[in-house]
């Protein structure tokens, strides 16, 4: 085969398709002018190839000047747009611009290869932004397309586009085992390879270390996953699923903050009183330091700390998905309160909430003790016309008083905050605990999903004889919110629940969602979460635990060289399989005849063999003669057409097995 120098319009179309799709997801991330320029260059190149526009290729100096100017323009533009920052985004923008220019400049085979390999590189850059399954699948497809463009470029025109694409897909699929092998065994770095400066540090919306009435209403509508939990064995009951987050002590009347209370070191004063659950949490990044744990955590993992208020905090901000294992007991006692903490748990802004204070004073005046006050408060929420809603009316003036006595409509934050204020007004230490409540069990992969919509706030009350006790005023108002979880609860509120029982479409949708989430979970677990530690575990299971990273690399290198040498030896020893698809079809035909007891001798030409077969099996004569003639034409007359016919005839050719002698 002669060396290809020119690029046909078909090669170019393939290449452009590949590079456009490789660029695709970047379109929204690039400065808007850049994609415009890119596509203008692309259209120019295509129009030039079609003879509809003049390309600057004739004059080498003109081409040189144009590309140099273009490159300078891209540099200046990117520099200006990103204000001199050369981070991830600027780098990607630069790459895209330069690929466009290279596309215009493309003239010889060498340029074609450069553009294709740049397209491969573009594919990789998407992983800076997203590591989701969908991204991986999409980029897999793009990789196949680019490979097909390379194959198209190196194939004679007689080979169809579909054949090229099929071969590309096969090649890429065949390389998957090698990819998995390298992925599993190549020494892994802690964290991603690219420590790119840039804007990738923002986490998703979640809880915060303070609360203001109205904030969690927003979360109530967010379907994003907060974290996933896989229990090691039995799961706790749904109403015990309180996932503890930041504990809020300090209030200015409207806003609640964690403050500096209970941050000091000390033994965790928790005692388990029931079964312990071991579980693994896969936390989505939220760019804060707290970690979630089932109330109450009795044993923690590495790289985290527990405060005296049982809050888990990470040593660093959580910027990537984090996996950790905990142990909890849902029946526990927490009996430790320092003087400082007692003060904080009783703090109220002076002169705020006059009506609330009056109510608390009235209860005390009625001779109620601590438990009596708590019971009265819960009673009030349950009995009086309080309602649970995710869209409460706005509160001007004193929000606690306004909520407790006027609007009486709110959600967990309103209830938790006003409940704690009531108790503190009555002189009972109390605090607000934020976190998540509930979660959806995924039967496909046996784990629970907790979404941002499961965010919750409740209260903890101190009794001198019992310690900290959880009290959830929301449960008093809307018990289903806690026993069903927010998802079911809000569906019930909208009257969808009854409908869903009958509607198989909705049920199917629900199942599909669970399946998809399970796939995502496994992806996070095994692909994105494949950490150095997991790798060590795997190596130990394979009996390679003693290998250090350096030794592993050397071993892999040696194995790779040996494999390549073996392959080279095999290839050199065997006569090269020549001729491409026509020869393959012919060999397939010969194999079938060999199975039918008529093997072709290596030295037999096609017509010779066909004549022998025809003499031996008259029933096959017309078929084999036609196939042999067609093959001879394709192979020895370089006939441009007929490959498809040959393949079809060979596919349909069934000489059958050799008849066994009776």
């Amino acid at each position: 085969m002669s060396v290809r120098g020119d690029i046909s319009i078909r090669d170019l179309a393939w290449c452009c398709a590949g590079i456009t799709l490789a660029l695709g997801p970047h379109l929204t991330r690039l400065p808007p002018l850049l994609p415009l320029c890119f596509f203008a260059l692309l259209v120019w190149r295509l129009a030039g190839a079609l003879g509809k526009a003049r390309l600057p290729h004739r004059d080498y100096r003109l081409l040189w000047a144009l590309t140099q100017l273009g490159a300078l323009g891209v540099f200046v533009g990117v520099y200006a747009h990103y204000q001199g920052g050369m981070g991830r985004d600027a780098g990607v923008a630069l790459l895209c611009g330069l690929v466009g220019l290279k596309l215009l400049e493309m003239k010889e085979a060498r340029d074609f290869y450069v553009v294709c390999f740049l397209a491969y590189f573009l594919v990789v850059t998407h992983f800076f932004y997203s590591q989701a399954i969908v991204t991986a699948i999409y980029l897999f497809g793009v990789t196949v397309l680019i490979t097909a463009a390379l194959i198209r470029f190196n194939s004679p025109a007689s080979i169809g586009d579909r054949a090229c694409a099929t071969l590309a897909a096969r090649m890429v699929l065949e390389s998957v085992p090698l990819m998995v092998f390298c992925f599993m065994l190549f020494p892994r770095l802690d964290g991603p390879l690219w420590g790119m400066p840039g804007k990738d540090d923002h986490g998703v919306t979640g809880l915060s270390d303070h609360m203001e009435i109205g904030r969690i209403a927003h979360l109530g509508t967010s379907d994003e996953v907060a974290f996933r939990v896989a229990f090691d064995g039995a799961r706790p009951r749904a109403r015990d699923l309180y996932w503890r987050g930041p504990v809020l002590w300090v209030t200015d009347g409207r806003r609640w903050d964690a403050g500096d209370v209970a941050r000091g070191k000390g033994t965790v004063p928790v005692v388990a009183r029931g079964p312990r659950y071991r579980y693994e949490i896969l936390l989505e990044p939220h760019d804060e330091r707290w970690l979630l744990g089932l109330d109450a955590v009795t044993a923690t993992g590495e790289r985290m700390r527990v405060s005296r208020a049982l809050e888990l905090t990470s040593l660093q901000r959580v910027k990537q998905r984090r996996r950790y294992t905990l142990e909890s007991s849902t029946a526990y006692s927490l009996r430790d309160l320092s003087a400082e903490e007692r003060t904080a748990a009783l703090q109220l802004p002076p002169a705020a909430h006059p009506r609330t204070r009056a109510l608390a004073a009235a209860w005390r005046a009625a001779g109620r003790d601590d438990r009596g006050v708590v019971a009265a408060a819960l009673q009030r929420f349950a009995a009086a016309p309080y309602g649970y809603t995710l869209t409460p009316p706005t509160l001007s003036g004193d929000p606690i008083d306004g909520f407790l006595f006027d609007t009486r409509l709110g959600f967990c934050e309103h209830y938790a905050a006003s409940f704690v204020v009531l108790l503190r007004a009555a002189g009972i230490p109390a605090r607000v605990v934020t976190g998540y409540q509930g979660g959806e069990y995924n039967g496909v992969s046996d784990y629970m999903v907790v979404r941002q919509s499961d965010a919750h706030a409740w209260a903890e009350v101190w009794f001198d004889d019992e310690g900290w006790v959880r009290a959830d005023p929301t449960a008093a108002v809307a018990p289903e919110r806690v026993s069903l979880g927010i998802g079911e609860f809000s569906r019930a509120g909208a009257g969808i629940r009854a409908l869903e029982d009958n509607d198989t479409a909705l049920a199917l949708l629900h199942n599909a969602r669970q399946l998809w989430d399970a796939a995502n979970y496994q992806w996070s677990q095994w692909v994105l979460g494949y950490s150095p530690q997991r790798q060590r575990e795997l190596m130990e299971r394979l009996g390679l635990g003693h290998l250090t990273a350096g030794r592993l690399i050397v071993t892999l290198l040696i194995v790779g060289v040996l494999l390549l040498a073996g392959l080279a030896w095999l290839l050199l020893r065997r006569p090269a399989q020549q001729g491409g698809p026509a020869v393959r079809a012919w060999h397939m035909c010969c194999r079938r005849l060999a199975q039918a007891g008529l093997p072709r001798a290596a030295h037999e030409g096609p017509l010779e063999f066909a004549a022998r077969v025809a003499a031996a099996r008259a029933d096959l004569a017309s078929d084999i003669e036609a196939i042999a003639r067609l093959y001879a034409l394709l192979r020895y007359a370089d006939a441009p057409h007929g490959l498809e016919t040959l393949r079809e005839r060979v596919r349909a050719f069934r000489p059958g097995r050799a008849a066994r002698p009776a």
Binding site: P575, Q578, G579, V583, A601, A602, H603, E604, G605, P606, L607, E608, A632, L633, R635, Y636, A637, D638, A639
Partner: protein
């Protein structure tokens, strides 16, 4: 490699014309259509033919039949040990009337030359003839005189009779594209020969099937027969294998390769194809290669080696 448009129609036409020629010749040379087809192939390829056989099996008849059917002029040269180069090429004789030397062309100035028992001629006479075969022209007194076109030499030699002969060296055997032998006729053919009319009388009645232009046209078509890369691969494998076969003193030369390809092209055309198949190479190989190969040990027949060669090279 230039790609010639594939013209199945022209090839089929050539094939039917050659078939007509062969069947007409079979009426004279009985029961030898395979040899006839190879002989015609050799002529279409523009090569010279060496017939090696016993006397009396019809070598001369074959040569005459072909010349006649092709409508070509014919000369016979009986080689003896006193044959001089001038007897082949011609001689300049002083003409008294014109007072100058006049060239009298020898038998070589013809379209078909039958050189009978070429191995009886002395090396000098042989080389004069072989030079004419190669160059297709003769030099007389410093002038180059072209021979007519087409120009074929059909030489015969007798393999069994070695007394008083000068066997052609390998380098000169190489000038013949093919070496064929007729062998004894089959039983039926021999009976027909014995009972039928005299061959000479039959020959006299024979009408040409082709004109000279037809033949030249067919020769041009041979040049246009397509040779694919895959076929060249096979040919090279054959050549390479011939050089490493243990039974041979030396293998096939590049010139032998060219000759093989040329003969295979003509053979493909004779069979109505515009492209060469491995089968074509295999069909012409024994005739083209046997006389070019030298067995390492006396008594080993080159034919057996050729069979071995064909059996050990794979067609892919």
């Amino acid at each position: 490699m230039s790609i010639t448009p594939f013209k199945p129609k022209a090839a089929a036409d050539a094939s039917s014309r050659v078939a007509a020629l062969v069947s007409a010749a079979s009426g004279i040379v009985l029961g030898k259509s395979d040899v006839l087809r190879l002989a015609v192939t050799c002529l279409l390829a523009g090569g010279h033919l060496l017939l090696e056989d016993l006397p009396g099996v019809g070598k001369t008849t074959l040569a005459q039949t072909l010349a006649r059917l092709l409508g070509l002029s014919y000369q016979r040269l009986q080689c003896t040990s006193d044959l001089m180069p001038a007897d082949v090429i011609g001689v300049s004789v002083y003409d008294r009337n014109d007072s100058q030397f006049r060239f009298h062309p020898g038998p070589v100035f013809t379209q078909v030359l039958l050189a009978d028992e070429i191995n009886r001629a002395t090396p000098r006479a042989q080389s004069a003839l072989l030079e004419a075969m190669e160059e297709r022209q003769v030099s007389v007194e410093g002038r180059a005189l072209p021979l007519p076109a087409p120009f074929f030499v059909i030489a015969t030699q007798n393999p069994s009779d070695q007394v008083g002969t000068y066997p052609l060296p390998e380098s000169q055997l190489d000038r013949f594209l093919m070496r064929l032998s007729l062998g004894y006729p089959g039983r039926d053919a021999e009976r027909e020969l014995l009972q039928g009319r005299d061959r000479r009388a039959l020959l006299a009645d024979l009408e040409p099937v082709f004109g000279v232009d037809d033949l030249l046209d067919l020769q041009r078509q041979v040049d246009a027969v397509h040779v694919a890369d895959a076929l060249v691969d096979y040919l090279q494998a054959l050549l390479a294998r011939s050089r490493e076969l243990p039974g041979l003193a030396h293998g096939l030369s590049p010139r032998a390769g060219l000759a093989l390809l040329r003969a295979a092209r003509a053979w493909a055309l004779v069979h109505g194809r515009g492209h060469v198949l491995p089968e074509d190479l295999k069909a012409v190989l024994p005739s083209v290669a046997t006389h070019r190969l030298v067995a390492r040990e006396a008594g080993v027949r080159a034919e057996a080696t050729i069979t071995q060669l064909l059996r050990t090279v794979a067609v892919i």
